[in-house]
Amino acid sequence: MRSRISVKLILAVGCVTVVIVGLFSYSVLTAQHTALLSQVEHHADQLSETIKAVAKYDMLLNHREGVHRTIDVVGQQPGIRAVRIFNKEGAIIFSSDKEETVGSMVDKRAEACFACHAIDRPLERLAIPQRTRVFVGDKGVRSLGIINPIYNEPACWQASCHAHEAAQKVLGILDVTMSLKYVDQQADLNKVKLSVFAVGSVLAISLILWLFVHWMVGRPVSELVKATNIVAGGDLNYKIRMEKADELGNLATSFTDRTQRLAEVQMQLYQSEKLASLGRLAAGVAHEINNPLTGVMTFASFLLKRADHDPELKADLEVIVRETMRCREIVKGLLDFARPTPGKRTKVSANDIITHAEAVLHNQLMIKKITFEARLDPNLPDIMADRGQLEQVYLNLIVNAIDAVEENGRITVSTDHVRENGSAYVAVSVRDNGPGIPPDQIPKVFEPFYTTKGAKGTGLGLAVVWAIMEKHQGSIRIESEPGRGTAVNLRFPV
């Protein structure tokens, strides 16, 4: 069903979108975070260098209060958590953070100290990333700390306070700790923005996808489903309205074709059924008629025998006997038609039978001044058929054509040897330039007792023709347009 397809599709695409957007967001966030952090690091380093440079003069002059003041001031700046100096042993000498006691030791094995102090001898120059550490302070605030070793210089160990020896490489560590609150806030903001974007895009994509599926797939599919239900319910003539040229349009077209074919086949089966039941009816009726017919024939014949002396009486009785014989033939014909047996088959040439039929109807054609044209294929193969039945067929069709055309009309009968799809057929066509048959009447013409000839017609003509064609495994098709005449096309397998 439509909803399941679109739901599946939306879920699938949605998941993929979520994953992709998620990965994207994650990498963007990470990159941003790293960039921000790196910025802070640089900023911290810069600050640290600045402090070093500023405090240097105080240190050289051994103005400890000056250094302290500098550190304090800087340490109170917003965003700066603490500035400390610890000596080469790791004891805190100065700290802007009043909660740290002077003299307490820094754990050399911790954090960034590790970078230099991992091996026995400390390294002397380090890159920024190795000098920074990110940690969560006691108050739960994330902080970045950067250490800046204070290297010994000649001016230092030559200073009058003699605090340091020449051999000492690192006099102490300036440690600046900066709060990452801003960075984190930014990061959080970014996260929110990106999340909103991600969710928004997933929703937007889903919506667009849903609309698309609904329009391009869902509606056509539900049309098709509706059509199959209607057809299953019995209406084989339902046509799907679909103008698209894509696969679904093709599906709709082929579906409609199939159902039309089915409708045709059903019609034919129905016809067969009707004719079969008509046949049974005919058999029953014929059987009944034969009894009284026997009586009439016998007594009329008797009267005829006794009427030799009276020519007028004899003539009248001859009419009766002749017409009763005719009744017998008609009933026999009806029974032959009704019988399931195939009749007598011989090799017949369609051309011969047509010529014979024309000869039989010659007078009628002349009287109505109808032009009769026979286009017969000289190399037409013979077919195994019942000669009498084929004669019936052609007589029937030509008589119908005669009845249809006006005076000076034209009837054309053509025969052809046709090859199609690997099979060979004898194709016969009876064409007239009469008024034609309206399209809605065409399926009806084969129905027994359908006639446009009023009292003259029995309506059995085309039904009989149809049955004969079926018995010969042939086919019959009518092409007609009002005003353009009618063509009856027969096909016999060879």
């Binding site: 034969n290 026997t294 009586g295 016998t298 014949s301 007598k344 011989t346």
Partner: protein, 272 residues
């Protein structure tokens, strides 16, 4: 004439009975009627009928069943069936049940007379022959000596026609002595056309005689017609297969269809 002109008609349609009486009465036959198979059996106990005309469709016991019963109970009476529905099935079944002939309704004078006169001739011969001569239903006319090549290849459709399979694969269909008179007097013979397909249970040959009787020969075997003995009739023609009392005369040679079911409808020669 004895029994030969005593006719019993078993038919429930009054008009048909009247027609039969009219036709046969004018030719010297005495016709009585029974409206049902039961009534017929009753009448047969007292009357000495030579010929019994039976309509297939009867109230109660069907005409075909009656035919079968009479074959055993009255072997010296000839049964002829007639019906308004002359389908192959009905014809074959009737002949198999022992009918001498099958007349389709409505019948003309000539058709009814043809069959009945032929039957009358057989009755006469039977009455003239030694006592105890078998009914035709047990085989060809009693006392017939076998044809030169023996009875082996012969198959019979009831008592009506026979078919013989030849070595070359074809089969001939023919009639026996009972048709001899008709053939001798034939004025017109309608044979099937060359390469025409004929079916077991259809009429294959129609004989019209000079004294205006018509005889139908029901086909014993389906097949495609290869040759017709068109020259026969009026005393001429190929009598090469004729022999003594059997006097079989072939009429049509076919390339047989060899249907299984058809073979079941035919029987071999049995000694009376």
């Amino acid at each position: 004439m004895g029994r030969a002109n005593q006719v019993l008609v078993v038919e429930d349609e009054a008009v048909v009975v009247a027609s039969v009486q009219k036709i046969l009465g004018s030719e010297g036959f005495a016709v009585e009627a029974a409206g049902s198979a039961e009534e017929a059996m009753q009448k047969l106990q007292t009357g000495g009928y030579g010929i019994i005309l039976i309509d297939i469709v009867l109230p109660g016991v069907s005409g075909l069943q009656l035919t079968e019963i009479l074959r055993k109970s009255h072997p010296r009476a000839i049964t002829i069936t007639f019906s308004g529905l002359a389908t192959r099935e009905n014809v074959i079944e009737a002949l198999r049940c022992g009918a001498f002939d099958f007349i389709p309704k409505p019948f003309s004078f000539e058709e009814l007379l043809g069959a009945v006169k032929r039957a009358a001739a057989v009755v006469e011969r039977m009455d003239a022959a030694p006592a105890g001569a078998g009914r035709r239903g047990d085989g060809p006319f009693a006392g017939a000596s076998p044809p030169p090549d023996g009875w082996e290849g012969y198959r019979f459709l009831g008592d009506h026609t026979w078919a013989k399979f030849e070595e070359d694969g074809s089969a001939v269909i023919g009639v026996d002595e009972t048709f001899a008179a008709a053939l001798a007097q034939a004025e017109a013979l309608e044979f099937p056309g060359a390469f025409e397909e004929i079916k077991q249970g259809h009429v294959c040959v129609r004989i019209t005689t000079r004294d205006k009787t018509v005889h139908l020969v029901w086909c014993a075997l389906s097949g495609v017609v290869v040759e017709s003995n068109a020259g026969i009739g009026g005393g001429r023609g190929d009598n090469s297969r004729t022999d003594s009392a059997f006097n079989g005369t072939w009429l049509v040679r076919v390339w047989p269809e060899q249907g299984e079911e058809e073979a079941r409808n035919l029987r071999r020669y049995t000694q009376p």
